[in-house]
């Protein structure tokens, strides 16, 4: 499975984007988000960007006010996931230009579309920014 979920949460702990690759009920999501956000936000910058949580790991990275959290299986390469987050941010940056929290909020569906291109079935399937963005650009043009 690899990636179990991708969350974007601001530093107040408010969810800005949530994509799960295994089904959880609303209550489960809420509980999980609360738990891990509390855990990750409490950590300082010197500490590892990885947190073990139950039987999986969370790899997280902070960009200004926004935290990107990725839940992964235990045998996943943490550093690679850390760079995957960065790739996602670079991709969003290329599309939005200096992406910020509000960009994601106003274009939630686009952020999701990018994720849909990059990750399927919990695996990273596309890492070329051009390939990730081209369907979105085509849709923009069409509409």
């Amino acid at each position: 499975m690899g990636i179990r979920f991708i969350l974007m949460v601001n530093k107040q702990g408010q969810t800005r984007l949530a994509q799960y690759y295994e089904w959880l009920t609303l209550e489960e999501r809420r509980a999980l988000e609360g738990e891990i956000v509390r855990k990750c936000l409490a950590r300082n910058e010197q500490q590892c960007s990885f947190v073990e949580h139950r039987n999986y790991k969370i790899v997280y990275r902070r960009y200004a006010s926004l935290f990107f959290l990725v839940g992964v299986d235990n045998d996943e390469n943490e550093l690679a996931i850390l760079e995957f987050i960065h790739l996602l941010v670079e991709t969003m940056d290329r599309h939005f230009g200096n992406v910020c929290e509000l960009d994601i909020m106003f274009h939630l569906e686009k952020a999701h579309f990018m994720l849909e291109e990059m990750v399927m079935n919990g695996s990273i399937v596309e890492t070329s920014k051009a390939n990730i963005l081209s369907p979105i650009q085509l849709m923009d043009k069409a509409s």
Partner: protein, 955 residues
């Protein structure tokens, strides 16, 4: 663009997003969302909503669910939206549906039709949107509805469609492997797809397939190696580069696959050595992504058949990771070390200090990882230090999940490597004291067994000492408040069994403590039961030793309480205790031999000892025994036989012995009859009949006689006869009580279970001896190594010896199998999909295939050694953005965070031009100039919020 919102967004939507964004508390956010729910409920069902508006509503629904509230009232509208003609609206509909619904939701059935239609669309983006939905919404039952179309799409001219179709098939495989088992060969075919994106995606399902069945994919080793080689040589499109690394995510996936394929396979591994070695050399160790690939190389090297050179490279990387300031790299280093020490244990030696630093680091993640490493390198020489540390840490944390894990690891290590009994007991006490309720009950049973059996040595004296140590420590620990139930059970059992065994403690000491326990934990019936039985044992041993028994007043009051207990189990035990106290020394010694928990109990299944008695009874006019089958019509049979044995009574003659009596039997024996006929072996407390003591140890007599009685007389129910019932309850119940719960039951139950465990333990003991020896020569242990680095040499030798040994049989086997199948292998290698290929083409084919992957221009650029040229526009664009953004964006701007990493990465790469790489890669002066400029700009720019990010990235 940016934060101003899109052209088509309404003010309402902008306001909603803004207010959510500005909400200062969860309560405020909830209020906004609840308001929004009300609004939407009203609006969304209005007629003739324009589709742009509807799309916005749907996104607002997504917000509602994302913020933790139910938006099910609008699901149907999301489903409807998937029918829309406009691609953007349709895709938003699909997105919302995949976020809202799971594959078993009732509404899915409404979407399947739409998906089917969309899969046939001429517009490939519509097809892609539908395939995304397929991956998330199709369950086992609906797979057949879309499978044929997905299969067709595997050959679609658009690579994006092929990629998603592969992933859809992958999903089907995950959901229901059997439904697509005949189609898995498609994954092999797509591995040689012209498009690197499709090839990369295909690695995901292949990885899973290989993990499940390595041997069917050994033929692909050569292909994977050649793909990896070409990726590493930058022959893929530059679009896949990330921070100057060629397609690192594909490299990582390939390395993972190779690790699986090369595990324990010398021949396969040998094919990989060169390419993995190359990657070790080429990887940019100054960037995160380079280190990620290096880490994956280490994982691969430690999984495949060992190669000294690669192990050396891996060890170098590990030591660099461990010396780094970055916690992330240290973490990876510790993890990698844990993998590598399995193969070369001696490398831990040089990193002891780093490891100890990590262990003492305040960062919990790092600490835990280090404990994992320690767990892997525990030996009998260092077990004390390691387990001590682990327990200290276990006590300090609150996370029950991890506490349980670390507790069971402590127990495991202690059982395996305990240097002394004393230490073992102390360690177990600490574990139980602090995590008793979290550990598996079996651990407690194991501990009791260990104390009973000793450590398998012949030295009885040592066992006695072990028990004494246990008793002493338990008496001390009982003073502590709030002990876990499991621990108390162990304590009670051990005190009962061995409390007075060596005369150190008097019976009144021990019984007093036991009564205290029963009183202090009066809510815990299991503990009370253990305590009662322990009391009985103590008194029994006293009686058997012909000492005067004075029951303590508190014990008497406890018994009175238990005799009237609601729990029949406790009641039974109390009666039993009373009965035993009434017996004479000889009888007690028979039923409750001291220190006999490990003795076998022989059950006289034929009840031969009763023959005389029966003869006598028949002579006196008693009716002979009628076999069960012959009295099937009689009413009281079902009463009398335990409920579990209905089936027995209905079948023919029973030739096997009767089972041990069940509690039900006991309770139903008419008391008066028993007393008068004197058949029941143990008399009631008020009518002691010592004369029958000889029959006492034999449980079945009770059953036999009881049957007889029942048949003769009506059923008079009477509760409270205890005598031997516990034995039966223990013999066939699996509850906790089984373990040494009651007097004789003890014996019966433990004996059978003990035989098993004893057998299983024996080899284990031997292993641990062997291990201990090995360890002594291998590794001083983390505590010891500090003092004696000399052991390292031995370690190396010994370990390599071990490694060789373990591989010898395997490799010879492999050789054999290779010989057997040389003809088959080449075709597989050549052409991933078609078995018709010839073996001569084998070598060339993968390359050919891969050449197809590159379009002409890419190849050209790669050949020219000027890969940076094609990349530079991207980078510039990115930088232009960054540079511009710094001035326009406010603090909340993501870029400030984003720009840091990119900046920090760049100097890293430019500052360290890699000599080895320069020939192929070619430093690009233009690039580095730009980067320098950017760095300077960033340096003076105060907008960077997280200076610490630098650390993170530079490390």
């Amino acid at each position: 663009m940016g934060s101003q919102g899109g052209f088509y967004q309404s003010k309402e939507f902008l306001d909603l997003v803004k207010s959510i964004g500005e909400a200062r508390s969860k309560a405020e956010e909830d209020r906004i969302v609840l308001n929004e729910i009300e609004t939407l409920k009203r609006r969304i069902s209005e007629p003739d909503i324009p589709k742009r508006k509807m799309k916005e509503y749907i996104i607002r629904l997504v917000y509602i669910e994302m913020l933790g509230h139910d938006a099910s009232f609008g699901y149907i509208h999301a489903v409807k939206m998937t029918h829309d003609d406009s691609l953007l609206v349709k895709r938003t509909g699909y997105l919302a549906v995949t976020l809202f619904l799971n594959e078993d939701h009732d509404l899915i059935i409404l979407i399947v039709n739409t998906i089917q239609k969309d899969l046939k669309s001429d517009n490939y983006l519509v097809v892609c949107a539908a395939l995304n939905a397929v991956c998330k919404l199709i369950n086992e039952e609906t797979i057949p509805a879309v499978l044929p179309q997905v299969m067709e799409l595997l050959a679609h001219p658009k690579e994006a469609v092929r990629k998603k179709a592969i992933m859809a098939l992958h999903r089907f495989y995950q959901k229901s492997p059997s439904s697509v088992s005949h189609l898995v060969s498609n994954f092999r075919k797509r591995l040689c797809d012209n498009d690197p994106g499709v090839m990369g995606a295909t690695l995901c399902p292949l990885f899973e397939l290989i993990a499940r069945d390595v041997n069917s994919y050994k033929d692909l080793v050569i292909s994977f190696v050649s793909i990896l080689k070409q990726v590493a040589e930058r022959r893929l499109s530059k679009a896949y580069d990330y921070h100057q690394m060629p397609a690192p995510f594909i490299q990582i996936k390939l390395l993972k696959i190779l690790a699986l394929l090369g595990s324990g396979d010398k021949q396969a591994s040998e094919n990989m050595y060169t390419v993995v070695g190359d990657i070790f050399r080429k990887c940019d160790s100054s960037s995160n992504i380079g280190n990620a690939v290096l880490y994956e190389c280490i994982c691969c090297v430690s999984s495949i058949y060992p190669n000294p050179k690669l192990l050396e490279s891996a060890a170098d990387v590990i030591s660099r990771f461990l010396k780094s300031d970055s916690h992330n790299l240290k973490y990876m280093g510790i993890d990698a070390l844990g993998r590598l020490i399995k193969i070369s244990p001696e490398i831990a030696e040089q990193h002891q200090l780093a490891v100890i630093d990590c262990l003492e680091d305040p960062d919990d993640t790092l600490k835990r990882k280090t404990f994992e490493l320690l767990y892997k390198m525990t030996k009998s020489t260092n077990v004390e230090v390691i387990v001590d540390r682990m327990i200290d840490y276990m006590i300090s944390i609150n996370d029950n999940h991890y506490k349980t894990e670390i507790a069971s690891r402590c127990v495991e290590l202690a059982e395996q490597f305990a240097p002394s009994n004393q230490w073992f007991i102390q360690t177990m006490n600490r574990v139980f004291e602090h995590a008793g309720d979290l550990v598996n009950i079996k651990v407690a049973h194991n501990l009791m067994r260990l104390i009973a059996e000793g450590f398998g040595e012949d030295d009885d004296n040592a066992d006695t000492k072990l028990r004494l140590a246990a008793v002493e420590s338990y008496l001390r620990i009982l003073g502590e408040p709030k002990l876990p139930s499991v621990f108390l059970q162990v304590i009670c059992w051990v005190l009962g069994e061995y409390g007075t065994a060596d005369g150190m403690f008097s019976a009144s000491d021990i019984t007093g403590k036991l009564c205290d326990v029963a009183e202090a934990y009066s809510n815990d019936e299991t503990v009370k039961a253990y305590a009662t039985t322990a009391l009985m044992k103590i008194y029994a041993f006293e009686i058997a030793a012909r000492r005067k028994v004075d029951m303590l007043p508190e014990c008497q009051s406890l018994m009175e309480e238990l005799l009237a207990s609601h729990s029949t189990d406790l009641q039974q035990r109390a009666y039993e205790l009373q009965a035993v106290i009434g017996l004479d020394a000889h009888a007690v010694a028979c039923i409750m031999p001291s220190d006999a928990s490990c003795e076998d109990i022989e059950v006289d299944r034929d009840l031969s000892f009763l023959n005389d008695y029966i003869q006598e009874a028949i002579e006196k006019g008693a009716q002979p025994y009628i076999p069960e089958s012959e009295r099937s019509g009689m009413l009281n049979i079902s009463n009398f036989r335990n409920q579990d044995h209905h089936e027995a009574s209905s079948h023919g003659l029973r030739f096997e012995a009767y089972e041990l009596p069940k509690p039900a039997v006991q309770s139903r024996i008419p008391q008066t009859l028993i007393a008068s006929t004197e058949i029941v072996p143990v008399p009631e407390p008020m009518y002691p009949r010592e004369s029958y003591q000889t029959t006492m140890p034999s449980i079945p007599s009770d059953a036999g006689s009881a049957e007889l009685k029942l048949r003769l007389e009506g059923v008079q129910k009477k509760w409270g006869r205890s005598t031997y019932t516990p034995a039966t309850s223990t013999s066939n119940s699996t509850s906790q009580k089984t373990v040494n719960g009651t007097s004789q039951g003890d014996g019966a139950s433990t004996v059978s279970s003990m035989r098993e465990t004893y057998d299983s333990r024996k080899p284990q003991v031997e292993v641990s001896h062997e291990k201990q020896k090995l360890a002594a020569s291998l590794f001083g242990g983390s505590s010891k190594t500090e003092k004696s680095p000399a052991t390292g040499h031995k370690a190396a030798k010994a370990s390599s010896h071990v490694v060789e040994k373990s591989h010898v049989p395997k490799s010879s086997l492999e050789v054999a199998s290779e010989k057997a199948t040389p003809a088959q292998q080449p075709p597989d290698l050549l052409d991933l999909g078609e078995p018709t290929a010839t073996s001569t083409a084998l070598q060339l084919d993968p390359f050919k295939q891969l050449e197809g992957l590159l379009d002409a221009t890419e190849v050209a650029s790669a050949v020219n050694g000027a890969p940076a040229a094609s990349r530079s526009p991207d980078i510039m664009a990115l930088y232009a953005d960054t540079a511009a953004g710094i001035h326009n964006k406010n603090d909340a701007d993501l870029l400030s965070g984003l720009s840091n990493p990119s900046v920090t990465n760049m100097p890293g790469t430019t500052a360290m031009p890699q000599v080895t790489q320069s020939s192929s890669k070619g430093p690009n002066p233009k690039d580095s100039l730009e980067k320098d400029a950017l760095v300077r700009q960033m340096g003076v720019n105060p907008s960077s919020q997280n200076p610490n990010l630098f650390k993170d990235l530079l490390g």
